[in-house]
């Protein structure tokens, strides 16, 4: 048994001329919760689909739970639970019928009891005979999660599972993921939410089909060598437009009534902030947030996604 749940090297996926994934390496130990981050179109979904055998890589190789991702897709499908970005259960089946379908397909023993327990845990016992179409977004996500975790897969691949879900439902969702992880399940979850990223053991940040950075949240912030100043006071709107494009200023972002001004060159950044001291604005150096770091990473990642000459 491989020590890694996911062990892929040099994964490349081209769709015609377009390179969606461009040499991704991931070695993810068993039993951890990893976050998969990156802007839209950075190749997160494509990478996940290659890992679970839904897409054949153009180049590269690897294993998922010890099974070859190209030749042993059937074993991978049996042992992993993949939750698609878009709700992909059958809306013209009831909640119970959806769960029973999955249970039958995976030959879950004592299927009825299993479904009963799942419904109970979900809190959907009373609504089990409603069509899945009648569920709200948050409940659909819970149904989908229940359907993929019901048969206790060893690895969960979740593609933006909480997109468009309210904060309470998101919190419940993450409690469930951590509970599953405690039971030994490995979880790779893609997300755009910074608070969710902070709940992960490690983060893999993807941009333009490449892994830009990887590690624990604090390590990533440290490794970015980003310096951030917080500006507060009257006239930050004018200040923001004045700062954008100044040498040394990598990005300027609003945080409520305050402004985060970040860059990697301390001397230049201090010059910019010093020039502004005569105004009514208060400056203070702060630790960059994960969001500051990611915005900086995104800005640095080149936008050229065509094949290399």
């Amino acid at each position: 048994m491989s020590e890694f749940a996911i062990d892929v090297r040099g994964l490349v996926k081209r769709f015609g001329e377009k390179v969606a994934v461009d040499g991704v390496d991931i070695q993810m130990p068993r039993g951890q919760v990893w976050g998969f981050l990156g802007p839209n179109g950075s190749g997160k979904t494509t990478t996940i689909r290659m890992i679970c055998g839904l897409l054949n890589p153009t180049q590269g190789e690897g294993t998922c739970l010890g099974h070859d991702i190209v030749h042993e897709a059937d074993q991978i499908k049996l042992a992993t639970g993949y939750m698609t970005q878009k709700f992909s259960f059958w809306s013209d089946l009831t909640i119970r019928e959806n769960l029973e379908f999955v249970a039958r397909l995976y030959q879950t023993p004592s299927m009825r009891e299993h479904v009963d327990v799942t419904l109970e845990t979900l809190g959907l016992t009373k609504r089990q005979h409603q069509l899945a179409a009648a569920l709200s977004g948050g409940w659909k996500q819970r149904l989908a999660l229940a359907a993929v975790t019901m048969r206790a897969p060893k690895l969960l691949l979740l593609d933006e599972p909480t997109a468009g879900v309210d904060p309470q439902a998101r919190r419940d969702f993450w409690d469930e993921i951590h509970r599953l992880s405690t039971d030994g399940m490995t979880v790779l979850v893609s997300t755009h939410y910074m608070d969710e990223a902070e709940r992960c053991d490690q983060i893999v940040y993807l941009a333009n089909g490449k892994v830009v950075t990887q590690g624990h949240v604090n390590d990533i912030i440290d490794a970015s060598e980003l310096i951030t100043y917080r500006a507060e006071g009257n006239g930050i709107r004018q200040l923001a437009s004045g700062l954008r494009g100044q040498p040394g200023v990598d990005h300027v972002a609003y945080f409520g009534a305050a402004l985060h001004v970040s860059g990697t060159n301390r001397a230049l950044l201090e010059q910019v902030t010093a020039n502004r001291e005569q105004t009514s604005i208060e400056w203070q150096e702060v630790r960059p947030t994960l969001e500051d770091t990611f915005i900086a990473l995104m800005a640095h990642a080149s936008d050229d996604r065509r094949p290399h000459a």
């Binding site: 054949n56 897709a73 993949y82 878009k86």
Partner: protein
């Protein structure tokens, strides 16, 4: 704000959007041109309500110049195509039942002698009249053909025999549907048409529905093999096909009084193979079409030649060779031979095995294509 310019701009915007979308959907765009062209060709060239070159067996108990002349006349009339000779009356019955020939023309022993004596000997034409439209013109022409042929032959010393009333009796035995009831031919055929239309369309939608609703990715992420998906999706419609068959057979029997001359088990065997052929084809379509609309269009594209070239609406033998060759590929053509053969002619399994084998081959080919085209990944 109802200004003419506004109306023009908004209509124009929608018009442009529709044009773009129409162009993007290649298959639909293609079908808009392919279907009318196919209709023109099929209706214009393939369909012939005055069928000629009908395969005919000859059972002549003597070979004389006059008999040969009469047969020659049949051949040159273009209505009859003398494909084989037989000496055995039982064999001629089998040839008719299996549909290998449409007519058996018999000349009795001593025909020539009795003709010359002026005894008015008989010429017997046994006709497959299960499709009244296919055989009636040829039958109607037979007497004229023979009479004119004799007019050339009976010259000189025999000129006095040149017919005023023909010097022979033409006896026609229209078999299987002696009264020429059109329903007897159409109603059993409708069983095939109904099964084709509903089953191909329903299964063609089977996969495209998953794709359109976004559930395909989920299905693919599960460990089900293509053959398992295909079987699981097809089997419910086998039940549908069975119910349809029962309904049509009961209606045929009690509403239209269509006779049932043959063995039920042969018909049911034919129905089973035919249903599978249509379901396999529908599943193949559903691996080609990208949307449910495209699946409908493919179904229609297949349905049109099935109706026109199978012998359901127009006599199969009346079509030019190329159209008959296309017809031979279609499962409906073979199914019609089975259902009409069993119900109207009482045909046995040995008469229909060719049709059964043809439908089986079609099913296997369609299944192979479906299995090759079914993608297990999202590539």
């Amino acid at each position: 704000m109802i200004s003419p310019r506004g109306i023009f701009a908004r209509t124009g915007a929608i018009f442009t959007k529709e044009l773009i979308q129409m162009r993007r959907d290649r298959l639909t765009f293609g079908m808009m041109f392919a279907i009318p062209v196919m209709q023109l060709i099929l209706f214009g060239y393939a369909i012939n309500t005055d069928p000629k070159s009908l395969p005919t067996a000859v059972h002549a108990e003597e070979q004389t110049a006059i008999v040969r002349t009469l047969l020659q006349a049949l051949e040159t009339s273009e209505y009859y195509d003398l494909v084989l000779e037989t000496a055995d009356p039982e064999e001629s019955a089998r040839l008719l039942a299996s549909g290998k020939v449409a007519f058996v023309v018999s000349f009795p022993a001593g025909f020539t002698k009795r003709l010359i004596r002026g005894d008015r000997p008989q010429i017997l034409i046994e006709a497959d009249a299960s499709d009244p439209a296919a055989s009636s013109n040829a039958i109607a022409r037979a007497e004229t053909i023979f009479t004119q042929a004799l007019r050339h032959e009976l010259t000189g010393a025999l000129a006095h025999l040149a017919p005023q009333p023909p010097p022979f009796d033409l006896v026609v035995h229209p078999r299987y549907n002696p009264e020429g009831v059109t329903q007897y031919n159409i109603v059993p055929g409708l069983l095939g048409v109904i099964l084709t239309m509903t089953l191909v369309m329903i299964t063609a939608m089977a996969m495209t529905r998953e794709v359109e609703r976004g559930t395909m990715e989920n299905l693919l992420a599960m460990p089900a093999r293509p053959s398992e998906v295909m079987l699981g999706k097809i089997l419910p419609y086998v039940v549908v096909g069975a119910v349809q068959t029962v309904v049509v057979l009961i209606t045929a029997r009690y509403l239209f009084n269509v006779p049932f001359a043959g063995a039920m088990w042969i018909l049911l065997l034919g129905v089973a193979v035919f249903v599978l052929a249509n379901l396999a084809l529908g599943f193949t379509f559903s691996t080609i079409a990208a949307s449910q609309l495209q699946a409908m269009q493919l179904t229609f594209f297949f349905f049109l030649p099935s109706i026109l070239l199978s012998g359901f609406m127009f006599p199969f033998r009346g079509m030019p060779n190329w159209a008959q060759m296309i017809g031979e590929v279609l499962p409906l053509t073979h199914f019609l031979r089975i259902v009409r053969g069993v119900m109207l002619k009482g045909a046995g399994i040995e008469d229909l095995q060719g049709a059964l084998i043809a439908m089986t081959l079609f099913t296997l080919a369609a299944t192979a294509v479906a299995m090759m085209r079914y993608r297990r990944t999202l590539d």
